[in-house]
Amino acid sequence: MPTISPEATATGLSPVTGGLSASLANVAEREWAFPGADDVFRGIYMRSCNNDREILAVCSAIAGEGKTTVAVGLGIAMAQDFPDRRVLVVETDLRQPVLAKDFDVAPSPGLAECLQQHLPAEMAYRPTHLDNLQLVPGGAPMLHSARLLRSSRMATALDEMCESHDMVILDVPAVLAGSDAMLLTDVADGVVFVVRTGVTPMPLINKALDQIEEKKLRGVVLNGSDSAVPNWLRRLCGF
């Protein structure tokens, strides 16, 4: 059985993937998660992807904004819509890897082990029920991940991933949490910036956006959008 973090159970939401994967568990459950989940992620990748083959980094200003949700959602949407394209979702937050735990897959060998032990990148691939979608968990947690990510081995691993997959989606750590994100956004072809609505202050967002190369920034995804205003009033006011 897959496990879920106590926080996720308590809140009823997985901070990483709950919203997304819940919406995609099956056709019936898509509706109770949120209507039109497919369209949302399809819209995101259609606006964010410029080429058939590229590396897309998904990042945010601070942790817990839903980077993994959006990254996996994008991967699933692409994999479902283009069965002939191979999609890989890579967890690059080596300090606090959560993907293996949330998806109940073996954490090792993950990206960290591949980089440390010079293992082939494909050793870290985890299959999903979609044939053309694979995951790469972060591996064992490590404190000094920047050194590894800056190493030539990382570049080699990315090359391997790009060779074996059409679309590589990097689940990047928070931009303001360290320099890891900077390294990864530099190697990515495009950057999708995730903002959790009602949580992240605008000054932090601007500070994070300043650190991202402007031409690489594809746009912002507002995650966890929710309006407290009753529907009738929103219709009345026209928003």
């Binding site: 897959v105 746009g219 995804v221 507002l222 205003v229 009033l233 006011c237």
Partner: protein, 355 residues
Amino acid sequence: MSRKFLEALFRNKRLLLLPPLLIPLIVGAVSFVTTPLYYEGWTAVWLSQPTYLAATDQDNRYLSPAQNQANRLTELLKTQSFVTDVARRTALAPLTGSAAGQERLQTLLVGQISMQPSGNNLLAIRYRATSPQVTLQVLQALLDAYTEKTSTDRTSQGTLAISFYESRVQATQDQAKQSTDALRRYQQARLSIDPSVSADLSGSNAPATADPQLMQLQGRAEFDQKQLDEARASLDKARFQVDAADQGQDLSFQVIDPPRIPSGASRDLKKLIIAPIAALLVGLIGSTVLLVILLASDRSIRAEADLVPPVRVLGIVPRLNLKRVRKQDRSTAIRRAIGFAAGSTHMLPAAQRTK
């Protein structure tokens, strides 16, 4: 701006509802506990104007007797001498000795008396105090002092009127005597000149019309006599009114329901209502201020329009709504949902999970 305002309002509705609910509740409870108990007594007075008593100049003819007396009593209560007179008859008498006590009397006595005319003739006088005995004493003292004052005023006015009419009667009496004497002298003079006119002077009108001077003297004498009669009538009336003043007072100011000792205590309903209403207003103002603060301090992003400078928005992922899922099924549903992406991995044999 309106969207942000409404969002902040509905998102924090519980917090914003707290001040308008909690403050009136606390203030209401405190007000109920701290508002002193008082004893209210009342008396009903029937006021009328007896027909045999002329209306005084103090009465407004366009107002009912009850309204007239209520106005008069209100005016009297504005005078220190009357208030002191009332207070001296009650347990509040010690307060009359000092200036501070006089000021306290204004609050304890004047401020607590209310008059409510009901109809043309009925006047209800209410008073409340923290002691039932004081309530009774003040109401009784008020009635006594007012009755005495009215009676005294009527008597003094009547005495003045008698004095005036007596002097007037005296003056008209003298005038009538002079004119009568003048007529008599003229008639005697004519008789001495021409005795043949005696018959005419006794009754026929022809000679009188023939003699204009006689006619003038007769007219003058009649007029003065008439003036004298009127003055005497006024004097009699004034004397009658003075005599009837005491009796008339009893008739025009009848205490129908004498004051009694109040049986139960009550609280000031006005204070009990006004305090929570004021607190509600304060609470609403507090909520408004709180809303403004929340609005100003919320720098998070809730919509595309909040992004400054504008950034291209790729998509909006709504918040997961699990309200439709039963509470006991939520964790299962979430686990199933989270396991989706790795679903096939779980189903694979352990050996095949990793390549």
